[in-house]
Structures are given as structure tokens and as C-alpha cells.
Symmetry: C2
Subunit: 826 residues, 2 copies
């Protein structure tokens, strides 16, 4: 659970109170109920231990390798273990540390070799060999702390042996000098590019390791590396194998011994993990975890009720991409498309009075608002550079092209380094401008939505993720009164990826309350949230009636009778409840205290059950069906990637015919389950199928209709995904084609229309204009079968096309029926 707005928060317990409680508890406990390795400063039951204790490591060669998630470092190290294990008398041990960030996270490989079996169940603290595969880690990670005296340090560096020394920070220089480290550099990135390997530096760094460590004779090592390459890349074809061979052969000529002075020349660099502006908790707890020192945190630092502060990804500044978005105020038509599609909420827009600019930094960008009659209003689109992943979706979404230079749009990717410092100041200024008044924004258009503060930001999702734009939109529309039950899956990982959380709060401290439950019970979990909210609301209403005299009849009636549909009405009710709370705090009755504990519910809650297709179509389907059938006011958002994305691409019942996936490697022959039609069959469920890349306006409309409907709602949201096997910058284009081919018809089923005696089934996309193939074969998940089994691929594609045709026919039929052809509402 993140967000601490319900019930008693950890701040209401003082440390003394906590200690008192636990001292009482301890009395009943046996004396020897201790745990080892935890600094328990609350119940004082932990044992001291010698943190510096190690086994005798003298016979081992220990190596640490610092790489970037998905750069191949871990895979190459696994091969290294196999090569050494199989070709020498040495025993091998490997352990790989990486977190659950979807992209751009650090990996650390711990490798040990020795003449006897290695039984060392702890990480390496004194390494003979340290490799750094990313130059910028030298500024972020104190990796030479782990170096033994005389160890070898191999650095992938864009700077040559002459230049590199001066690019290092003071700390690194000092460690190298003091520990008499043998220091080597290679520009692996350039070697990789020149041998056709693009960004893959793993084989190159591995070759260097063998050359420097001397575990095997060099020639033998090269032979074995090549053998491993053949095995690893067998499926990718001869070309890839030969590129790797060439990289190996070129490597050693490009590796250099670095001579360094006897004294450090550079200044110490601030290894600060988070900004000094960050809140106390972030500095004390979050930052410690981010620095890989979470196990040093004393128990007292952890929130006592399990409620975890939200909005902390903003302090991470992961800087995963060198290329970032850049705005062109001259060209921009201020449509808001780029902000809408940005998966990481790094593009934000505000309009404001021009007087605000008086204090603006010189380079702060702005433009007159693109609306007649507001000459004093300015508009700024601000990019959060350090959080941008360079996915390119904003550029793809931009409808404007520079007529002079057709390769330029109103938003473009650019090198980050030159503009970083300027933009940091611009962001600081941008944040000082208040967000626009929600009651004055037109929620119904993409253009309007850009001015709503996102309360989901800077997540650890993949660059170009097709899921997160939906969550961001949800948080913009209803974030201040949102409760989210999140099923296990990608969204639960990037949604609550401790130590940081992307779900955030606004300046008033209002934001989504979020919790993750299991694949198999999330719908029930969310239904429970709804029932709780309803019961608490009922309690609040009863207490209000009870306290009518003291609170004033008008006040009570206003609150009880408030309509809460328009945003302006919601804002007004929020204010009433705020005033009520202040009044209640001055009162002394138990009824007032009870009312205070539940009166937040008087502002209409929006309960959303969120998960992927693995949850909704498969493992959690029984519960989902039950929650929908309950008739309760719950909203379901299915981030449909048509495959189990988080666990590595297994087939779900949402996986379409003819696509391949794990457990359906020969192509899926069954049809994609039509969850929309199953939900529609209940009659009183609002159902929509949306694709933000194909029709952002329809997505927005569906979300607002779903939320406004006083009953269950289901939104199936097409989410392009790296599991589909293509460059995510084409995600929007593929969404368009999914709709245009009829694979993903856009629709809305609105029971409210049925009540008004209108046809509740609305088809929002036109009859298919391209064949299914024209969509599917841009994606590896379909394409691969045409290579491995062309006959079957052809058969399945024909069958899939037949299914699409039939689905369309049925949908068109439904769209033209009479209201009375649909289930009546009781």
C-alpha cells in the first residue's frame, strides 16, 4: 500500500510509543527468539554479528562486472563460467544481482573460480578483477571499494588511454593509486559499432577479461569464446556469429594499459543519490536502498503500518538515455499529443499569465497560447530530460513537420549532455508555476488533458511502453480520488518498484492509493476496496446526520446532497470536506472522531482494478467475472499485451491466432478470447475496447464514460509491448494497424444508452481497410513462424483472417440493432 491517507499513518506513532508497545510484546516472548543480520532497533531482538567476516578467499579469483540491464553482460558471464568450468580444473561460482526495473537498471555479476568446490553464499567484497561496462558508472557507483590491492580494473571508455585519467573523479583516481590497481581501457562501444555489433559490447568485454585474468591461455580462451558464441547465437544466424567473431578478433588490439600519475589530480565528485530537496524519508530510506545499502537500514526506519510513501521516482533521475526529447515552440501547435503518448510522463504542459515569465531563467522556452482572445496567456511544454528514455513516441505522435527541414518536427530527439544543466533550471522554474485549475480545463479532449497533472510518473517501465500512457491518463483524470488494486504483472512491478514508486501526489498531498495483490485474487481484492469505501461512506453519512445540529443543517445537507459528476462539483465537495475536517478536529465527541476517520469517503471514490491479460483473461478471470457480475461500481482496466509480458512472453487466452509465444511456439491455433463480448453479455457492464495510439480521443472518452457510469466497467486497452518483437518507436503505428486491420476493433457498450432505449453498442472504428497480414507481419511474434514453418504460418494466418472477418460481421450487426435486442437493465 502506498499513500498514507487512510487510517492511522506511521507519523501518528512516536518512537517512544512504538518502543512501549514492543517492550510489552517482548515480555511474552521466549528469550532466544532472535534473528541475525537485521538491525532491529525497535524490538531489540537482533543479534550482533561481524559484518567483515569472510571465509579464506586466498585460493579464489574473484571478479565483479558492472553492466546495464539487457546489455548482455550477464549472458557473457554465464558463458565465461561454462568455459572455465569445462576447460580447466577450476570450480566456478556465479551470482547475478539485478533489480526489477524494466530497462536501464544496473546489473552486477559476481564470479568466483578456485581449485576446490566453492561454498561461499555471500557476495564478493574483495575482487581481483573489476569490469565497468558503462563509463558513467564511475560517477555513480563506488565500485573500486570492492577492489583488492593490486586488482585489475577494466573500463569501457569513450576516452583513450591518454585522456581517460582526467575524466575520472577524484575518488576513483585515489582508489586506483592507493590500491596500486592495474588499469585498462577499451572503447568497446566503438569496437562493437565498427564490427557491426551495434550496442552489444558483451563479447568484447568478455574477451578482455580472459586476456587479462589469464585463467586460460589467450589462444585457448579465444577458441572457447568462439565456441560459446556459436552455441549462443545459433538461432540468430551465421551473420551474427561472424560479427561476434570479428569483434573478438579486433578486441585485444584496442585494449590499452593506462599509465597514471602517483597523485590524484581530479576533485572529489558528489556521489549524492538524491537531491537535497528530497523529503526526509527519501533521503533517509529511499536513497539508502537506491545506493544498495538497504540492509543497513534499522527497523525503525520502515513505515510501521506498511503504508509506503508515494511519488518517489521523481528523485531517481535515472538518466538512461543520451538522446532525449526537445521542444520547438515555434513549430508547435500545442495539440498535446506528445504529452499524451509519453510513457514516462516526462512531457508536461502548462498555460499561465505572461507575468510569470518575469522570474524565468533566460533560456526558459514558451509560446503564446494557441487560442484566440488570450493575448496574455503563455504556454510551455517542459521536458524532464533526466527521466526521458528516448523512446521516440513523442516524435512519432507529433503531427507537425518543419516545412524547411522535413526531418524535423515540433518535438525531436536531441543529445542530452549539452542542454542538461540549462534544462534543470528550466524544470525548477516550470515547477514553480502552479498547475492549471482542474475545474477550468476541458477534460474531454486530448488537447485539454495535457494540462492535468499526472500522478503517475517516471516509472521503471520499458522505453516506449504501451501500457503506462493509460495509467498516466487515469491518474490525470481521477488521480486525486483513485484507489487502485493492481494485479501481479508488469504494472505491479513498475507500479511499486521499491524503493521508489511512480504513483504520486499533488501539492495538497492527494493522489492514488495503490496496492498490489496476486494474479489470482486481484479482482476480489479491488471489489473489497469498493465495498469498504461504500460502507465507510454509509457510516460517514450516518454520522453526519447524527451531528446535524452541531455542524449546521445547511453544511450537512450540502455535503450529503452534493452532485459529484463535473470536476467543478468534485472540487467544491473536496473543499466542503476539508472544512468539515477542520471543524471536526475542534469537536470532542466520539461521533466527531468517528466521522473524521471516514469523512474522506464523502468525496466520490474511483476504484480501479488493473492488470494485464494474463490476469484478466487467465489466472484472475474467475474473480474478474465475479466482480463484474456483482453489479458494484468497480472499474477494470486491462493492459492487454496479448501475452504474459512480465514473465517472459507466455501465451495467454488473449494471445491472437497465428501469433507465437512461449507454450505456443508453433503458432496459436485457438482464437483470441473475446472478453469484451463476455462482459457485454451481462448487460449492466460498461465495456470498451480502446487503443490510445490509434484513437486517443476514443480512449479518453471511454475512460470518462466508464468512470461516470454507476456500475461495473471494463476497458480493454491495446498495449504494444517489446514482447511483440519490433522497435517500440513504431508502437503507435502498429496500434493504428491493429485497428485498421480489424484485429482490434474499437468499441463501447454503454448500459446507460440501453436505459434510454438506444442501442448501447457503439462501433468506433471503421470497417477494416488493410489485411491482417499487413498488421501482423511487422511483428516478430507473427513473422517468426513464416521462417520456421511457412506452410503452418500461412494456414494459421488464413484462419486468423477468417476469424477477424466473422468478428467484424457480428460487430456490425450489433451496431445496427435496436435497443430491445440487448439485455434490459433491471
Amino acid at each position: 500500500m502506498i499513500g498514507g491517507r487512510y487510517g492511522l499513518s506511521s507519523k501518528e506513532f512516536t518512537p517512544a510509543m512504538v518502543k512501549g508497545i514492543f517492550d510489552e510484546l517482548k515480555k511474552d516472548k521466549p528469550k532466544n527468539n532472535f534473528t541475525i543480520g537485521i538491525n532491529d532497533d525497535v524490538t531489540f531482538t537482533s543479534l550482533d554479528y561481524d559484518a567483515s567476516f569472510t571465509l579464506d578467499e586466498s585460493a579464489w579469483r574473484q571478479g565483479l562486472f558492472f553492466g546495464l540491464g539487457a546489455d548482455g553482460t550477464v549472458g557473457a558471464n554465464k558463458n565465461t563460467i561454462k568455459i572455465i568450468g569445462e576447460n580447466t580444473n577450476l570450480f566456478a561460482q556465479g551470482y547475478f544481482v539485478y533489480d526489477s526495473k524494466k530497462s536501464g537498471a544496473k546489473t552486477v555479476s559476481h564470479l568466483r573460480f578456485g581449485p576446490k568446490p566453492i561454498k561461499a553464499p555471500y557476495l564478493i567484497k574483495k575482487a581481483d578483477f573489476i569490469a565497468c561496462h558503462q563509463f558513467n558508472f564511475t560517477e555513480k557507483v563506488a565500485m573500486l571499494e570492492f577492489a583488492k590491492e593490486g586488482a585489475t580494473f577494466l573500463l569501457n571508455s569513450p576516452y583513450g588511454k591518454e585522456e581517460v585519467w582526467d575524466k575520472l573523479t577524484g575518488q576513483v583516481q585515489k582508489e586506483i593509486i592507493e590500491k596500486k590497481i592495474k588499469f585498462y581501457v577499451i572503447d568497446a562501444t566503438t569496437v562493437a559499432r565498427e564490427t557491426g555489433m551495434k550496442g552489444r559490447i558483451n563479447t568484447i568485454m568478455q574477451t578482455c577479461y580472459f586476456a587479462l585474468s589469464g585463467v586460460l591461455p589467450r589462444e585457448e580462451a579465444v577458441k572457447q569464446i568462439k565456441k560459446a558464441i556459436e552455441k549462443t547465437y545459433f538461432k540468430k544466424g551465421q551473420k551474427v556469429i561472424e560479427q561476434n567473431f570479428r569483434a573478438v578478433d579486433t578486441t585485444l588490439a584496442n585494449m590499452y594499459d593506462v599509465q597514471y600519475p602517483a597523485k590524484a589530480t581530479a576533485a572529489n565528485h558528489d556521489l549524492l543519490i538524491v537531491s537535497k530537496n528530497a523529503p526526509e524519508f527519501v533521503q533517509d530510506v529511499t536513497a539508502v536502498m537506491m545506493a544498495d545499502h538497504g540492509d543497513q537500514l534499522p527497523v525503525s526506519k520502515i513505515p510501521i503500518d506498511g503504508t509506503y510513501p508515494s511519488g518517489t521516482t521523481q528523485w531517481e533521475k535515472r538518466n538512461v538515455s543520451d538522446l532525449v526529447a526537445s521542444w520547438d515552440p515555434e513549430l508547435c501547435i500545442q495539440c498535446g499529443n506528445c504529452a499524451y503518448v509519453c510513457p514516462h510522463s516526462v512531457i508536461r504542459a502548462k498555460f499561465y499569465h505572461k507575468d510569470n515569465l518575469k522570474k524565468a531563467p533566460e533560456e526558459f522556452q514558451h509560446a503564446p497560447i494557441n487560442a484566440r482572445g488570450f493575448p496574455e496567456t503563455k504556454y510551455t511544454l517542459q521536458i524532464y530530460l533526466e527521466d526521458c528514455t528516448g523512446c521516440n513516441l513523442c516524435v512519432e505522435a507529433c503531427p507537425v513537420t518543419n516545412t524547411v527541414n522535413p526531418s524535423r518536427k515540433a518535438i525531436n530527439l536531441t543529445q542530452k549532455a549539452p542542454v542538461l544543466e540549462t534544462e534543470k533550471q528550466n524544470i525548477e522554474f516550470f515547477e514553480s508555476i502552479t498547475w492549471n485549475d482542474r475545474s477550468k480545463i476541458d477534460f474531454s479532449t486530448v488537447h485539454g488533458a495535457q494540462f492535468l497533472e499526472p500522478l503517475f510518473e517516471f516509472s521503471g517501465a520499458c522505453a516506449g511502453c504501451g501500457e503506462t500512457p493509460y495509467l498516466k491518463l487515469l491518474s490525470q483524470l481521477f488521480g486525486q480520488r483513485l484507489l487502485v488494486a493492481n494485479a501481479t504483472g508488469c504494472s505491479s512491478i513498475y507500479g511499486g518498484n521499491l524503493p521508489t514508486t511512480p504513483w504520486s501526489v499533488n501539492k495538497e498531498g492527494r493522489g492514488p492509493a495503490w496496492s498490489n495483490s496476486l494474479f489470482e485474487d486481484n479482482a476480489e481484492f479491488g471489489l473489497g476496496m469498493r465495498i469498504t469505501a461504500d460502507n465507510q461512506l454509509e457510516m460517514a453519512r450516518q454520522y453526519l446526520m447524527q451531528l446535524k445540529e452541531e455542524l449546521g443543517e445547511n453544511t450537512v445537507n450540502e455535503i450529503l446532497e452534493a452532485q459529484q459528476v463535473q470536476e467543478s462539483e468534485l472540487v467544491a465537495q473536496q473543499l466542503r470536506v476539508q472544512l468539515l475536517k477542520e471543524k471536526l478536529k475542534t469537536m470532542n465527541s466520539s461521533a466527531a472522531a468517528h466521522l473524521l476517520s471516514v469523512c474522506d469517503q464523502l468525496v466520490r471514490r474511483s476504484v480501479w482494478l488493473i492488470g494485464g491479460d494474463g490476469w484478466a483473461y487467465d489466472i484472475g478471470f474467475g474473480g474478474l467475472d465475479h466482480a463484474l457480475a456483482s453489479g458494484k461500481n468497480i472499474k477494470v482496466l486491462v493492459l492487454d499485451t496479448e501475452v504474459y509480458s512480465n514473465t517472459g512472453g507466455q501465451s495467454s487466452k488473449s494471445t491472437p491466432t497465428a501469433a507465437t509465444a512461449k507454450f505456443a511456439a508453433g503458432g496459436k491455433s485457438a482464437g483470441k478470447k473475446d472478453l469484451a463480448m463476455q462482459a457485454i453479455s451481462y448487460g449492466n457492464v460498461y465495456v470498451a475496447r480502446v487503443a490510445f495510439g490509434a484513437n486517443p480521443q476514443q480512449t479518453l472518452l471511454a475512460m470518462r464514460e466508464a468512470e461516470a457510469y454507476d456500475g461495473p466497467a471494463l476497458i480493454l486497452a491495446y498495449s504494444h509491448c517489446i514482447a511483440h518483437g519490433y522497435d517500440m518507436k513504431n508502437g503507435l503505428d502498429q496500434q493504428n494497424k491493429a485497428v485498421a486491420s480489424g484485429h482490434w476493433p474499437l468499441l463501447r457498450y454503454n448500459p446507460t444508452l440501453r436505459k434510454k432505449n438506444q442501442n448501447p453498442f457503439v462501433l468506433d472504428s471503421p470497417r477494416p481497410s488493410i489485411g491482417l497480414k499487413d498488421y501482423a507481419y511487422n511483428e516478430s511474434r507473427y513473422k517468426v513462424l513464416t521462417m520456421t514453418n511457412p506452410m503452418e504460418a500461412d494456414r494459421l494466418m488464413k484462419h486468423a483472417q477468417e476469424l477477424v472477418n466473422l468478428k467484424w460481421k457480428n460487430y456490425e450487426e450489433l451496431a445496427t440493432k435496436k435497443a430491445s435486442d440487448f439485455v434490459p437493465i433491471a
Copy 2:
């Protein structure tokens, strides 16, 4: 798991082997790993204990009450506890022992009262007061064993104080004399009838208890009993309360002290629980459990692999009804309807050559077979009297009326006692006639099906159960090669109601293998059975190929290529596999041993996933949907009572609109989930909706089509149920009305037809001919709302009728569509 035909059975372990294994295991175990109260003669780890130990019971008054399930004994005793607990200084304790039989089971209430809090967590062994609410228990249950010297014995007896002594068995007389028991009788059944209470004797017996026990002064006791009556029957209205008052007032005048002689006059009666013809296991284990002495069984008696012998209900002979079915050979047209609908498989038919009759008992009934050209063939319909529950469904199903006496049919209910002994002999003879050859029976008609041996019989289901006829039919059609995964619910209770099991085997020892799994995973469990069977079949085929030379090419090819669709083909394959097994036993290779372990799979297996609507529509729905979507050859039978029957009538998603149930006490407003249409949407699932009482022929056809289809199948089977609130003898009539009103349209969706380019959707029942009300208001579940909330009842019934109309319209539309309007098969 019952049925021991797969894998190593317990018989293949000798006791010495078992002891050897456990002796080895014990070596590693700590010495003090003992359990108390179990006679462990296998691992010898149990501790001796003093079974006769009791606390000091001198201050307690202890009463034992022997009643029949649902006769109100337990309820009245609960009231007794409340009365004494609230109106005296005594403390009270109650414990109620009853098994999970659905009807006709014994209940024992254990009541203690004392001046201090009673902490006695064990059953009463020395009672001051014993009440027997059913006279025939005196012959079956040694209840006076539990009487203290000088105890009081109260017997509900149809015989007066003068006659009763001579109706008791020798044992009972002796116990009464030896223990100097104060013996009272009352004809509570007559008192109940005469005061308008029908069969409810509970209040009467309770009044006697208070009168005899003297815990409260009589007048005070009567006052408190009446208060409790008012509270208990408040909802049933003033009339019921007054009847109870009258019963109380009449009671004491009808209770008599019995004077008895100083010496027993009657002979000892044989308390034998099972026939001496029963197998060893039944005598040694089952019977001991049936006699309530299961905890005395030593561990060695329990099957070592958990596989439990099946077909043991036949030894129970529960004799729950005084009225039983009786056949009239003269009138009978031999249609088989009565045998088909009998929920307890007590009506069986055989045809045979007349020479068989030479050894028949004189009173054995028979008739010439009703078929031209077979003058030498005779027909007998045999009733298993002791297993008959007197439900009357057979009489309702009989199409023939005696023209002379229109109240008589070809089957009628009659008093059991006068014919019991004769019929026992007839049954014995009937069983000596072999069952008709399956390959010569016409499976496709109800008439033919009566000649198939049921392998599901004499279950503990309620009298008139609407579920069990489906299971019996299933066992008749496919029983010899059936695997059943049974979800929790009524069917898992009466299906594996240890110590006895209704799933049975034929003379060759072939019968269903059955196991129960949870509500939430039964579909997955059954899918696992299928996958296992498929994999074992594949192994068997491979070993056959491997052993081709030794086994002979012809033999192997015949087995591998055998068609197994017609019953005659299946019989032939069974024979081939039998011969193969004998050959394999003589061979010595490991391949032969492996083949032997899996070769049973060479006869086509039929895997059925069975459960109620609580399983299929609700708790197990996610798994069911997944199993259906798997495309695997699994068959699903949903015994749809439209409510959670086993747990006491909670609303499920199958509960229809306007019906009441627990959690839907105000009438259900949501629609009944259309599980058939959801399954049909997959395209490759065979789906049928059946109601055996409305169209037995269609039920039979659907089961056979489902089984023959090489893919998933789902049969939704309307099951009338006591939870619907009406006399079950009208179950067939209500089934008819469910169909005639359009509430339960009969349909079949056959993907095989789609493959042949025909419309796969077949509507088997005509357009509704009666209104929904005409069906629904015969059942309390609907009717009750018209009394408690007539306006809402009316509103909901109108809505329900609208839903029925719409469903019909849609179904008729589907039935007239073209093949190409339905999902194509890949």
C-alpha cells in the same frame, strides 16, 4: 481416489515389505516423534493411552439423543441448552454428531449440564438420560451401552406401554433390566400427527425430556419451551406456533412409564452392519466405520496408497424409507423411464432367456419382453428395496395408468415390510443373471439404456435428487473407461461419502476412477488427468512399436489402429488389451514391464470434470474456462441446481433473476450467467443444455455426442433440488416447466457440424408455451418474495420474463443462421 486399477495397488505390498520400509524410515526419526490416540501398527509410533479415562462426571447431568437427520432433534436440543443456560444456574455444553449423508442419517446430540463451567472435550459415554427418537434404532444401534445404572430411557414408540416390551430385542431388554433403567414411551409420531405437526416430533420429545429430567420445574419448563417455539417459528406464522403449543400441551398425557419383568424375554438380535457376503475390506474396515468405531481401526487396515475401494454403498442397506417402489409386470410397457430417473439406481432391468427362470424363486417377477420375434426372451425390472428412498420419481415418470384403477401405474409405492424378505431373495437371483452384452444394446434410446449396468449406485444423495440420474447415466454409458474429477459440492459429498462409495465396478473389476478436488481447481485437476492419460497412451504406443517383433506385428497393429467409437469396437479393444497384458506378464524385459504399467490407456479413456454451479459458474470458473479453451479432450458436466446446494443455498451466478437465495434474500436482480453462450464463443467446444426430466432422450444424445467429440465439451444439466423448496416428487414436472417456460432452453452446439458446413447450433425445445411465473411460482425460492415483498417480486418477475424473451429471440436467430455465421474450426 477410489478404484485401484492404476499404478501399484496396496495388494502389491506385503505387510513385511511395509514394515521393512518403515523400520528404515524410523532410524532417521527422533525417538519422540509419537502421536496419541492412533493405533499405529505400521510404524509403531503411537503411544498407549487409557481409553476409559474420564473426568469426574458426578456433578453433571448427561443426556444422549438419537435422532434422524432433519427430524428437528438437533434444533430442539439447541433450544434446550438455551433454556437451561438462561433460566437456571447450570452451565451447559452441547455437541452434535452427524455425518454428511444428505438424508436418512443418524444424529446424536450430546448434552451436559452442571453447576460449574464444563470443560470436557470428549463425547458422553455414561449418560443419565437417553432418548431414542426412531424406534428402529433399537435394532440397529447399541445405544443403551451408554446408559449409566439407573438412567432414564425415553423411546418414541408406535407400541404402547403394554406392547412395547415384547417388541424390543434381547440386548435392549437385558440392558434395561441390568442397569435398572427407568423406561418411558410416547407415541410421538401419533401425537405430532394429531396436533397437526405432521412428522415433526422434536418439540414433543423435548417436552418429555424436561418432564423427566427435572432440571426445571415442569410449569416453568413448559413456559420456556413455548417461548423458544415462538422465537424459532416466528417466520412460519402463528398457525405453526399454535400447533407446537398444542403438541406440548398434549405430550405429557401421552407419555407412559413402562413396567417390565425381571428377566429378558426376547432373543438377541443380530446387530450385523454388513452382509457376510461383503468383501474382506468391507467387513474389516468399512463396517467398523459404519458402526461408529472407525477410531479403533489400526493403521495397517488403511490402504497404503490412498486408493480406496469403490462400490461399497451396496453393503449399507440404509432402509431409509418404509414406502418403496413396486413393479407391476402386467401393466409395464418396459420403456425404461423409471430406471432412468431413479436417483439411487435402485431400479434395474435385464432381459434374458426364459431358461434362466428354472432356478428362480417362486415369487420372482418377470414378463415376456415387449419386442416382437423374441418369444423366448423374458424381462425383469428389479427394485432394490433396502436402498429405495421412496422418492416417487419412478411413479411420476411411468407413462402407464391402470385403466381399472387410475390411481395405479406400472410402478407404485408400497409398504416395504411385508415384501422385504421375498424381495431380498429375488434380488439375489436377479444378480445371478448376467448383465446384457453391451455390444448388443441400443445405447441411443432411454429404452436401451436401462439394460446398461449402473456403476454409480445407492448414494447418500437426498431422496428425489435431481443430480444423481445424470451421474448414473454417465456411469452406464462410459463407466468402464471413465475418469472423474469431482469438484467440491453435493456430488463430492455423496460421491465419496466415506466409509462407503457409490462409484462402483462391474464383475470384471472395471469402473470409474474418481477423485475429488477443490472448488477452485477441479477443472485444472481434471485437465491434468487428461494430459496424464494422453502422455501414458503415447508411451504405451511407443513401447508397443518397440516390442513389435516379440508381440507380433499383427497384434501390435491391431491395437494401434483399432477404431474405438462403437461399443462393439471398445469391447474388442478391451479384449485385445487384456490378452496383451497376459502376454506381457510372461515377458522379462524392462520395456514389457513399462508397457504393462501403461497399457490400460490403449482403451480410449473418457475424462469428465464434474461439479455444481457454485464450482462451474463461480469459484472454479476461471479454471473451467481455461480447460475449455485448452482444446483438450475433456468433458464437463455441470449439475446445475442454480444455487450452492451443499453449503445451504447461497446465491451463485447461475441463480436466476427473481429467485431468492442466501446473499440474495431480496430476490436476485442480475441475470443468470449464460455459461453455454460463453463456451460456444470459443467455437471448438461442444456445448449442450439438458434436463433429463423434460427430455431424457436429448440428455442421452448430448452425453453421447459430447463423449464422441474429440475436443472439449460442456453439458449444463438442470438439476431440481430441495433447495428450490418443493416436494421433490414434482421434480420432473418442474423440469418440464423450466423448459416449457423458456427458462431452460434445451440446446446443442456441435462443432462437428460446423466442420461439415452445417449450422452447429441446434435448439431442441420449442418456443415457450407457458409464462415464467407458471414455472417459478411452484417453487418457494421464487414464491417467498411474493409474500415478503410483493411489489419487488412483481418487478423482478417481469424483468426475468423480459430476459427469457430476449434469450429466446437470440437463440432462435442462432438456430436459423448459416454455418459461416459461426466460428470456423482451425
